[in-house]
Symmetry: C2
Subunit: 361 residues, 2 copies
């Protein structure tokens, strides 16, 4: 959706490999990025050591000085962060809020982008009857800086039988309009040119009316885009029984969180799902990461599939104004997926090498 | 979860057939209820004309006098309400908030109960591989009187580019504890005795901490119940890929709305899904209804499947303290479903008659 000129020459890339399989899959994403980048684009990488390991060692999550440094980059590539499940030294939410959400909010990543596509060979949990209805290929544009994620709300009489706890979803015309505009621009660039607003306007009337009004207003400026509205609960049914109906979905931060995980599940698992936390104006670095976590149980064995990280690299290139290079990576991934032999497990670098070879070849 | 004595003798039943196919399926639910009710239980029915038709004719949604009358009943059976899609005379949300949600709040229906089971012959959108892992049979206990459904929040500078709209999720220890207790009691009565809390504690920290604390507190009193926690986004993945893992789920009002529609979808569609809006203390009448809508497009043709309404009748009997009668209805439905011939469409009364015959036979 950006009208910013393509990044050329030296591109400053902040790399946050993170924990568990994060570093392993990040290496492969970088490998493929390097070979896919257009002539003239050169990545100057700086590695930042953030995540569970750093927190456990130093109690630091994201020092202000590190954030200030990261901010001076053109883009961020993140592997995965997160420690062992139920580690008593790692309070739940500390990395999520202190690192992942803080980056989204500080860097104004108002577009959280999650393409959802059933690739060849991907194992969808949906029946052959549902899958037989046609290709599943949509993208969710999730608002990233507002809604119930703002940390508004509080608690009174905490820990007592009289406790009251609130969560406030904050929605501004400023924030809603810009993400809706981005979604329309993305819909316009796709063959089907269809955009679905997802909300719960029949219950959440204040926020719902704002989203609805701005959606209608921006729709009037885009007569070539077909528009549609679904309640979040109805989307559950459609994603399970008729995912083909979606092209681009725009929704709020929490509904987007929910919809994108279901979308990842039905398209064959979070093992393939890539995501971007994007500031389309490119006034701050956007961040690209696989949707999967750090999988500490398989870390260090080089058995993790780096495909989601590699596809996140494609989103990064697209965001920097290089859609052809991004398309080359995606095509290479599709070819690689189609050529996979069930039962034959390749190592993480083998998958990276194979995809890199298809990009160059 | 009720420790209230079974309803005997004359049971006052408020019947709200509603719109579209509502009256048709309600007739069949009543037919089956009558034959399934234990000897000594007699339903005294009063019909209330509420829904889209009444609103369009009189602009009344739920007059206070009608609510006062309904309140004096022992239970409510509702068909479905809702007019034609996009009827300009029927503003969106008016029936949802003015009738359905108002009844839940006024009658303190703090347990919104939605059993999810893949019945024989039901067409699930999940693959045979996923379904082959085992039976899917769980129940969602959704909080019904708090959360983001309270109508808290508001809007400032409405209609301008400076608009701010908020939605406040209100959670009280009082409200959260009672629904968690109900869920534990239900889990305790099931063979697997497993209860999963669903929330988003890593982001919604205030509400999340309250739910988490009370869940842990009540769990300590129920050592025979296995407990588990899932973020709402992870539940999306589990429901699509491993629904067998769930036994009882307890969650807040909005997450429950979302989870139950996905649950209905994966178990074979909302055509079979029943629900109860329950006050387990029986100090007010609880309301039972199929999850499906009024389907105005097929109304009047007697082709609607009354199974979900009939199963709602089973929930009603169970709530009134007659679990054996409820089980008889469910068993009759299962037999009827197993005996259905694909392609052979029976009329609404034929299905009702067949199930009623199996209950008595
Ligand atoms: C880790 C968590 C805070 C995050 C979110 O809720 O946004 C994650 O679920 C995601 O979707 O990126
Ligand atoms: C109609 C609507 C207000 C309602 C809800 O959101 O609770 C419905 O979706 C349901 O699940 O019963």
């Amino acid at each position: 959706a950006s009208t910013v000129a393509p990044a050329e020459g030296s591109v400053a890339l902040a790399v946050v490999p993170g924990d568990g399989i994060g570093p392993e899959v990040t290496d492969e994403a970088l490998k493929v990025l390097e070979v896919a980048a257009p002539a003239g684009v050169k990545f100057e990488k700086t590695r930042y050591d953030l995540g569970a390991e750093r927190y456990l060692a130093t109690h630091e999550v994201l020092p202000d000085s590190v954030l200030a440094e990261i901010r001076r980059h053109d883009a961020i590539l993140l592997g995965a962060v997160g420690g062992k499940p139920n580690d008593p030294n790692l309070p739940p939410g500390i990395l999520e809020r202190g690192l992942l959400l803080r980056l989204r909010f500080e860097l104004d990543h108002y577009v959280n982008l999650r393409p959802s596509r059933i690739y060849p060979g991907a194992v969808s949990p949906l029946s052959t009857e549902i899958l037989g209805k046609g290709d599943v290929d949509f993208v969710v544009v999730r608002e990233g800086t507002e809604g119930p994620y703002t940390g508004n709300g509080g608690a009174l009489r905490t820990g007592t039988p009289a406790e009251v706890a609130t969560e406030v979803s904050v929605n501004t015309a400023y924030g809603v309009e810009r993400v809706i505009r981005d979604a329309f621009a993305r819909a316009q660039r796709r063959p089907r040119k269809k955009l679905t607003l997802v909300h719960k306007t029949n219950v959440l009337v204040n926020a719902g009316s704002l989203w609805w009004r701005l959606f209608e207003e921006v729709a009037a400026e885009h007569p070539d885009v077909t528009t549609d509205y679904c309640h979040i609960d109805a989307v559950m049914i459609y994603l399970a029984t008729d995912p083909q109906r979606f092209d681009v979905i725009v929704t709020d931060n929490l509904f987007g969180d929910i919809v994108t995980d279901l979308a990842a599940a039905i398209t064959g698992g979070i093992g393939l799902a890539a995501s971007g936390n994007v500031n389309p104006d490119r006034t701050t670095p956007s961040m690209f990461e696989p949707v999967h976590g750090s999988a500490p149980d398989i870390a260090g064995q080089l058995v993790a599939d780096p495909t989601a990280a590699i596809l996140s690299g494609a989103l990064l290139l697209d965001h920097l104004g290089h859609p052809e290079a991004a398309a080359r990576i995606e095509a290479a991934v599709i070819d690689d997926l189609a050529a996979r032999t069930p039962g034959r497990q390749r190592s993480t670098p083998e998958v990276g090498d194979a995809i890199a070879a298809r990009v160059t070849g």
